[in-house]
């Protein structure tokens, strides 16, 4: 029998090793797998390369992972949202590396990594500092830059419902990067609000088919990052 369900967040993140590349779902707090991130902080892996659109808020979740000095490098599009305190501070001190990628190029690089496309051309960033050092190619009269697919050792994502095959559906704009990260990671670890029997999810509406998922942990009542930030909480 196939059963991707596991019993604790500790077990879920147990294999994440020092130096691993970890894609973390979420756009701001929407879709941020905060319990998995906190378990990763507890687990202790360091020198991580983290891929996320942002760098977290306040002193919880992704920001706490960074604040606890587990992240050597961030690959993201927008590292300084409102309430982003930790990353800007470390970056200014030169204590964390940043690879800044336009948001659509980031999404497409992750999707390419998952789809077995090693590289593609895009018009995004042509003529800007972010295209510096990149190969430029003229195709049908327009310039495009070459961008490479992005893969990861692990993905940590959050969804609304999952079954034991690892089929997933999401909630509203919390979907964001999760489906492509699930494709691009060697091991995809999911926290779900609800765990449902196989057959409950309509095959027409599954967003992430189980083939892209390795481990599912149920977190029925997930923390809300904005609530924690507003309360001034920090982790651990």
């Amino acid at each position: 029998m196939i059963n991707k369900q596991i019993n604790s967040v500790e077990e879920a993140v147990a294999e994440i090793h020092d130096g691993a590349t970890v894609m973390i779902g979420g756009f701001g707090e929407a879709g941020s797998p905060i319990e998995l991130i906190h378990a990763l902080i507890d687990q202790g892996a360091k020198d991580l390369i983290v891929v996320n659109n942002n760098t977290g808020s306040g002193h919880v979740g992704l920001a706490a992972l960074i604040e606890n000095r587990r992240v050597a490098k961030m690959i993201c599009s927008f590292p300084k949202s409102a309430n982003s305190l930790v990353f800007p501070d470390l970056y200014t001190k030169g204590e964390i590396e940043l690879e800044l990628v336009p948001q659509g190029t980031l999404a497409e690089r992750i999707r390419a990594g998952g789809a077995g496309i090693p590289a593609f051309y895009t018009a995004t960033s042509v003529g800007t500092p972010l295209a510096e050092g990149k190969e430029v190619r003229n195709i049908n009269g327009r310039d495009f830059v070459l961008e490479y697919g992005l893969t990861a050792d692990f993905a940590l994502i959050k969804c609304l419902k999952a079954d034991r095959y690892g089929n997933l559906i999401y909630n509203k704009t919390a979907r964001n990067f999760a489906p492509v990260m699930a494709m691009a990671a060697n091991t995809t670890i999911v926290q779900t609000k609800e765990f449902v029997p196989v057959g409950d999810l309509d095959p027409e509406t599954v967003v992430t088919p189980g083939i892209f998922v390795d481990q599912v942990i149920t977190v029925s009542d997930p923390l809300h990052e904005s609530v924690l930030v507003n309360a001034g909480e920090s982790y651990p």
């Binding site: 948001q103 995004t124 704009t173």
Partner: protein
């Protein structure tokens, strides 16, 4: 020079930009004043708003009690979804942008050059944290890029300039600019005044612009 006290306020700038959005358009709104455009769809028109974090059919802010922290816009503010909306993932969302399926994008700006070059992501200050978000994707992919911006910076420097001094977001991408003082088109002859805000005259705008304007 202090903040403008004549001309359009932020809501009026958004409202003026909304007037130029035709029925049936697919529109992406940048962070800041552009977000307000969603409120001002003209009577008799339907406009579908796209937010790059995975929603087509974005509505305005939710009523109290209706908030869902997982239903937000690109500025991470709480929004709603209209009937007929659709959710999708980030790669699909940027396929809509990169693939030129979005008709109009309304963005903020730090500088716009008279050839349509846009700078809106970085001052180039080596101490600043660079953050680009989806701006470069939007200007590279959306058919028409309009800008809403104060005509000058808080310190009074022109934002409409001969040539951008800040790092570019995209080259020759801006079509029209809505400032607190005027509506201005980017044309082959340079910035051309389309409309002046009430109580504002050409010279007043020219004084606050970094290159020669063309009259309407």
């Amino acid at each position: 020079m202090s903040e403008q006290i004549i001309g359009w306020d932020r809501e009026q700038m958004a409202q003026r930009a909304a007037q130029d959005i035709p029925n049936g358009a697919y529109v992406n709104l940048g962070i800041g004043i552009p977000e307000k455009v969603v409120r001002y769809v003209l009577e008799g028109r339907e406009v579908i708003y796209h937010t790059e974090n995975g929603l087509l059919g974005m509505g305005d802010a939710p009523a109290p009690g209706e908030e869902d922290p997982e239903l937000i816009n690109a500025g991470k503010k709480l929004v709603t979804a209209i009937p007929g909306a659709a959710y999708f993932h980030h790669a699909d969302s940027f396929s809509m942008i990169r693939g030129s399926h979005i008709d109009i994008c309304v963005l903020g700006a730090m500088q716009v050059a008279k050839n349509g070059d846009l700078a809106n992501w970085s001052t180039g200050n080596p101490d600043a944290i660079p953050a680009v978000g989806g701006a470069m994707d939007l200007v590279a992919g959306v058919k028409t890029i309009n800008v809403i911006t104060q005509h000058v910076t808080k310190k009074g420097y022109p934002k409409l300039v001969e040539k951008c001094t800040f790092p570019l977001t995209g080259q020759a991408v801006v079509s029209r600019i809505y400032t607190d003082l005027a509506v201005i088109d980017v044309t082959a002859e340079g910035f051309k005044i389309v409309e002046l805000a009430p109580g504002v005259d050409f010279d007043y705008v020219q004084e606050r612009t970094g290159c020669t304007l063309v009259a309407a």
